[in-house]
């Protein structure tokens, strides 16, 4: 983490929270502060969402501020665009990132371009939350990491937190932002940090300092990366679940890697990337999503454009394979610490 003291004292007492509780707290704080904030999606109302993120919000704020929607993602995003045009700040949940495709036209052609095409006459101050990533035996329709489909779209902000403190602060920033924000939640991190060792007991967030979350209002800025693990030998650029996997690989290989948690994928914190890579001279890019035309390709190009003369080794990419996310072979697909560690070694040996 960058300076954790950057969170102001007004944010209140830090208490143990899972990422789910931290996200709920962000929604709660935002709804309490601004009655223009409304929350909706499939099963999010009375039931509180399949991952429980919105639990209790309907009871607290009433059904017109937190409600269930039909199973229809173009409708969920489409009404969010209309509500944003009215002046509300909608927070829409797509139950799984894998389900956003029917809403793609409303995201790409509408939400992302509303400000541009109307010269600011209409804007889309909306947040679209969606759980992403694998590691829960979700198969190909509950495991995808579609971030590159969003970072490719001009006008969208794409965010992915790796821990409860960031999740709450980033979600509040997203809600308060006047641009449309795609807020990807790595579902494998909902209940605890996950280093990729699926065969070991789950560590709960209550046992980790990043699971101590201020109860009140605070923001984590968009477009700012965090140095998750300082190091001198090689820079790992990553986000979401892979932050933890990469840090684990550094420990296990004994390579002094600097792990940068992007937090905001686009627009991103280029300065943080450039400063680190120019210092270490080596770079490994890690994401869970498929490889070809993945966000790692963009990161690789940026590092090449801005750090070429500082590089001492080819840039390495560690990603999911270019296959649909398989069910039974999930852990062969998932780029765990062994694959990241091997890439770190290659980067050091080159």
């Amino acid at each position: 983490m960058d300076d954790p003291n950057a969170i102001p004292a007004t944010a209140g007492n830090a208490v143990p929270m899972t990422m789910i509780q931290a996200l709920r707290s962000a929604l709660d704080v935002s709804m309490a502060r601004d009655d223009k904030v409304v929350v909706f999606g499939e099963d999010v109302g009375y039931f509180g969402g399949v991952f429980r993120v919105t639990e209790g919000l309907q009871a607290k704020y009433g059904p017109s501020r937190c409600f269930d929607t039909p199973i229809n993602e173009s409708g969920i995003v489409g009404i969010a665009v209309g509500m944003g045009a009215y002046g509300l700040r909608p927070v829409a949940e797509i139950q799984f990132a894998d389900y956003f495709y029917p809403g793609a036209d409303q995201i790409i052609s509408e939400a992302a371009r509303l400000r541009y095409r109307s010269v600011g006459d209409f804007t889309a101050p909306i947040t679209i939350r969606m759980p992403c990533g694998g590691g829960i035996y979700g198969g190909q329709t509950h495991s995808q990491s579609p971030e590159a489909l969003f970072t490719h779209v001009c006008g969208l902000r794409t965010v992915m937190p790796s821990n409860p403190v960031d999740a709450k602060g980033l979600l509040i920033s997203a809600i308060e932002c006047n641009d449309p924000v795609i807020f990807l939640e790595p579902k494998r991190l909902y209940n605890g940090p996950f280093d990729g060792h699926h065969d070991r007991p789950v560590v709960p967030w209550s046992k980790h300092p990043l699971g101590r979350v201020p109860e009140g209002h605070y923001t984590v800025p968009l477009e700012k990366a965090a140095v998750f693990r300082p190091g001198k030998a090689v820079t790992v650029i990553t986000y979401g679940t892979m932050v933890w996997v990469s840090a684990c690989a550094a420990e296990e290989t004994g390579i002094d890697a600097e792990v940068i948690d992007l937090r905001s994928l686009w627009p991103l914190d280029l300065e943080a990337i450039v400063a680190s890579v120019r210092r270490t001279g080596r770079c490994v890019i890690v994401h869970e999503a498929t490889r070809t035309s993945g966000f790692g390709a963009e990161l690789t190009a940026l590092v090449q454009e801005h750090c070429f003369h500082w590089l001492e080794a080819p840039i390495e990419r560690v990603t999911g394979w270019d296959t649909p996310y398989p069910h039974a072979q999930e852990w062969d697909y998932f780029p765990g610490p062994a694959r990241v560690g091997a890439a770190l070694k290659r980067a050091m040996e080159a």
Partner: protein, 411 residues
């Protein structure tokens, strides 16, 4: 492929006539003006079922207003409506020719269907939000949006409010209740429902009006909008302008052959009306009925406006390739301007001389606005907004990568 005697046969609908054929509307039957009753505002969708299959008409072809739907509307308001329709037609004619003269890339007329947008705009409150498709310029004109600004948008010139970013006719004016027009179809309809839901969430009194053509009702967003509008009883009017043609595809290709577009609402539990869209009084009355219903928390109304696209789909289209040239002249519901003019003359509130004078004055107004707009440039003469502005408004604040790209462009 070999076919057996019991082979299945794929049905592909075909229109009544193609180029060279004699137009034939003999299969079309409508209720007479005044024949359709006017239901109570709080009638249930089930009680209204038949209205989705009939046709609400007020004006006969002699200009008489007949029956329970005849609105009480002052002659002065009728004259305003007629002038807005004449202005829309004159504007369309000028801009169509401007495109043909190479002054812009593209234009879309609303020729023949002016009554629908103009009469509904006059039936709504000025702060009700319209989510138009690309052929509702009549709404902007009836809300007194300057035609000079519309022309500058069409020319993508230095005074274009959209700064050259949008195709011609893709206007936006929040203050006039006119949502930014999208080039892809049907997306605006769920947005209209969402805006209406927001108005209800906020405890406001404003309603929304969404617009779509017969062709794009086949898009899933239209059905999405019906579902959400019904579920949340959204205060919204959902307008289907059935002008019979989606570029070259006649309305049966969109699924209107054995049913109506209004009937789409019946299965969704939405009050659904089918109305003569070339009958200014029927459009006004049905719009008022739906608006009052929405304002009374009685939910959404779907209205199919039966009309005819008299002109081409756009300047990029050539209808002589797929339909008879004189189709529109034989369309049984006539010309909305001619019909309202006859009504006003019948009331003793208008005359042929006044009509001709108004037409000439409005054409002069359009010509003057065109001259002024062209003094600020056209797409042809290159007086377009600076390319430096094309990096603005992607985000609220410009991120580093767009600043960098602007530098790379050298502007």
């Amino acid at each position: 492929m070999s076919r057996t005697s019991n082979a299945l046969d794929l049905h592909v609908p075909a229109p009544h006539a193609r180029p060279g054929d004699k137009p034939d509307f003999s299969g079309w039957s409508f209720p007479e003006p005044g024949e359709t009753p006017k239901p109570e505002l709080d009638a249930s969708a089930a009680e209204l079922r038949d209205f989705a299959y009939g046709l609400i008409r007020v004006l006969d072809f002699d200009g008489n207003a007949i029956g329970p739907w005849a609105p009480s509307i002052a002659p002065e308001a009728l004259r305003r409506g007629l002038k807005y329709m004449l202005l829309t037609r004159a504007f369309d004619d000028r801009m169509y020719r401007a495109q043909r003269q190479g002054k812009t890339s593209f234009y879309m007329q609303s020729f023949g269907e002016e009554a629908i947008s103009v009469a509904q705009a006059l039936a709504l409150n000025s702060d009700d939000m319209c989510f138009p498709s690309y052929r509702q310029q009549g709404v902007l004109i009836a809300r007194d949006y300057p035609i000079f600004d519309m022309m500058c948008q069409i020319y993508s010139n230095a005074r274009d409010p959209m700064r050259g970013r949008q195709l011609p006719v893709m206007y936006s004016s929040k203050k006039d209740g006119f949502f930014t027009v999208s080039g892809n179809l049907a997306t605006q309809v769920p947005q209209a429902v969402g805006w209406a839901m927001a108005s209800a969430i906020a405890g406001d009194t404003k309603i929304a009006s969404g617009w779509i053509g017969d062709g794009s009702t086949a898009e899933s967003d239209f059905h999405t909008a019906l579902t959400f509008a019904h579920v949340y009883r959204a205060p919204v009017i959902l307008n289907v302008v059935n002008n019979q043609w989606a570029i070259s595809s006649f309305q049966a290709i969109a699924g209107g052959e054995s049913t109506t577009f209004a009937a789409r609402g019946v299965g969704c539990g939405i009050a659904s009306l089918r109305v003569d869209g070339n009958d200014f009084l029927a459009v006004y009355a049905a719009s008022r009925w739906a608006a009052e219903r929405a304002r009374g928390n009685l939910g959404p109304t779907l209205i199919e406006w039966v009309s005819y696209r008299a002109g081409a789909h756009s300047t990029s289209d050539d209808p002589s390739k797929y339909r008879p040239a004189d189709d529109w002249q034989r369309f049984p519901l006539g010309d909305p301007i001619v019909r309202l003019k006859a009504h006003l003359i019948g009331l003793g509130e208008w005359s042929e001389a006044q009509h001709e004078q108004a037409r000439q004055e409005l054409e002069a107004e359009v010509a003057a606005a065109q001259k002024e707009a062209e003094s600020h440039g056209t797409l042809l003469d290159g007086h377009i907004p600076s390319p430096a502005t094309m990096f603005d408004d992607v985000f609220e604040r410009m991120p580093w990568h767009l600043r960098l790209q602007r530098q790379q462009l050298g502007v």
